[in-house]
Symmetry: C2
Subunit: 340 residues, 2 copies
């Protein structure tokens, strides 16, 4: 009772039970037969001593950490809740631990990674939390990796799971044009060099092209998929007297859309009467925003869980899906101009 549990080892148990450490270990792992008589005795002694196997020792002996890591770019987006939930479910069901860290390669000088082979058996890498070179390096060393919302660079073969960006965005922008007669649609870009950003822009441009509308760089802002950034960007855009007029905003994602809402409201512009606003993700709150946000439904929790599943395929030597693309579709609410 008063004994520090940390000091009780498998040898203590073995001694008290009058057996060898091997037998105790075998009993613990159930990986070799142990007679019932000894099993009982061992169990009794373990209870008595409050024995808890030290995982670290186990890890060292087995050369695995029983943990997988999740690298995120930040945590200030409601997008990450569902993602984490999806991942955690799978990870737990496999009996693994989940390490979480944020990381932005462009912000740090040294090559130190918070998560990697030194503390995990495999990594889930979200978007740009790692650079292409870092991914290639890990992959070359045979370290199990799966990418989330990012495709690997040319030549590196790493499973990835993401969502369909382009078609849905195109459809959404097309809706703005076709259904609501919008023609000057502001593009709120996502983070630089980010893949979702890229494909959403491609979809946006395609929709414009479909209707013979010229792409206008002046109608372009950097929203970074972050509410505050989007807010600030649009705010400065609006104070600039020279700015071209616009009648709609594709916000990049739902979080940025909220920043857009904020800036528009402060400028006295009504949504959707004066300007339509649309997002991407269909985060939990978007149906309840004022007005309800027209957006693209992305199955974020499913993305998380299938990414985790692919990683476990790798860990268990099965061959994973190299590419998992979750479908998306637009959901029309009031912010684009549709009736409730």
């Amino acid at each position: 009772m008063t004994k520090r549990s940390s000091s009780i080892t498998i040898r203590d148990v073995a001694r008290e039970a009058g057996v060898s450490v091997a037998t105790v270990s075998r009993y613990l792992n159930q990986n070799a037969p142990v007679s019932e008589k000894l099993a009982d005795r061992i169990q009794r002694v373990m209870d008595e001593l409050d024995y808890i196997p030290q995982e670290t020792a186990r890890h060292l002996a087995l050369r695995r950490k029983n943990a997988i890591g999740l690298l995120l770019t930040n945590m200030h987006n409601d997008f990450f809740g569902p993602l984490l939930a999806g991942i955690e479910t799978i990870v737990r069901s496999e009996g693994y631990n989940l390490l979480v860290a944020t990381c932005r390669p462009e912000l740090q000088t040294d090559s130190y990674l918070p998560l990697g082979g030194h503390n995990t058996d495999g990594l889930l890498v979200f978007a740009n939390s790692l650079g292409d070179e870092q991914i290639a390096q890990l992959s070359e060393r045979g370290f199990p990796l799966v990418l989330i919302h990012k495709t690997p660079a040319e030549g590196v073969s790493v499973p990835f799971v993401t969502v369909e960006n382009k078609a849905a965005t195109r459809k959404l922008v097309d809706h703005l044009i076709t259904a609501h007669g919008r023609r000057r649609i502001l593009l709120m870009r996502g983070p630089e060099q980010q893949e979702d950003s890229y494909w959403r822009e491609v979809g946006y441009r395609a929709a414009l092209a479909d209707h013979g509308i010229a792409f206008d760089e002046a109608l372009t802002l950097r929203g970074s998929f972050e509410r505050e950034v989007a807010y600030a960007a649009l705010k400065t855009f609006l104070v600039d007297a020279q700015h071209p007029l616009f009648d709609a905003v594709f916000a990049g994602d739902d979080d940025a859309a909220v920043g857009v809402y904020e800036a528009l409201k402060e400028a006295g512009l009504r949504i959707p009467e004066d300007v339509s606003v649309v997002g991407f993700d269909d985060s939990r709150m978007s149906p309840f925003l004022m007005p309800p946000l027209t957006t693209v439904r992305a199955p974020t929790e499913a993305v998380g869980s299938s990414a985790a599943r692919q990683l476990f395929c790798l860990l268990e030597g099965e061959t994973p899906e190299l590419e998992t693309l979750h479908p998306t579709d637009i959901v029309l609410r009031r912010s684009c101009g549709c009736a409730t």
Copy 2:
């Protein structure tokens, strides 16, 4: 290059550099002087061999895991984003890893904990992710623990950090009564046995008492701080023809408030004209809901970071604050009836 990095040990480095493992270790940890000549040689060899120290071996030798754990009840609430962000910042700055898991003692039979002394050096325990007995047990063993949004049971001395619940709730409900003339205020309770639930109810009752309004059990629902649960509860409440009329809802938290919004709208009830709605937390989206949600501002990210800080106090042998109570205050928006 083609060598598996996993097979390179400190002994390899030592041999190649013509020094002892002790010297390499000392150079790595900078905890004892190493001559410049050898240091250079060691560094060169490490670069050449792509040597990465195996953390698990280190953990075993040092008898610490260099990781802290966070136990959550679930991840489907926007509340957890800021909480995690606050924690992660501190954890990273201390050079530790962060393990995250969900856990509900009432839902599981065995006493197995996903996080504990076997894989972490200390634990952040959110609300009811652990039962009182489990907390007491861990605490007795001297395992570093800090509670979040929960106070320890009588007699167990564990640091905790939470927010002021009662006074703010009382003030908010008082506002409904005084400023908006509401008298039949529905109470959407939080999770059973949960402390925030309890104190918010106490605040609610106190406000009623202040105005001589009798507490009415019939005006009471279980919302569990979850949107879906709150929605379902209110939904069935509303179809029941016998139900007493009400003119306001204290939703328990912002997430539940959204569920309340949903159910009310479907019932054709206008917010705030027909019924006022108020929440708790001031989550990121609440200013942007339709209508903007009157609520209580709780510094969730600060709660996370100060909890983590207390835990590191424990780990480093300093004496932590036993009790950290973050102040809260009401923020008035339109859902209660106030003008924008």
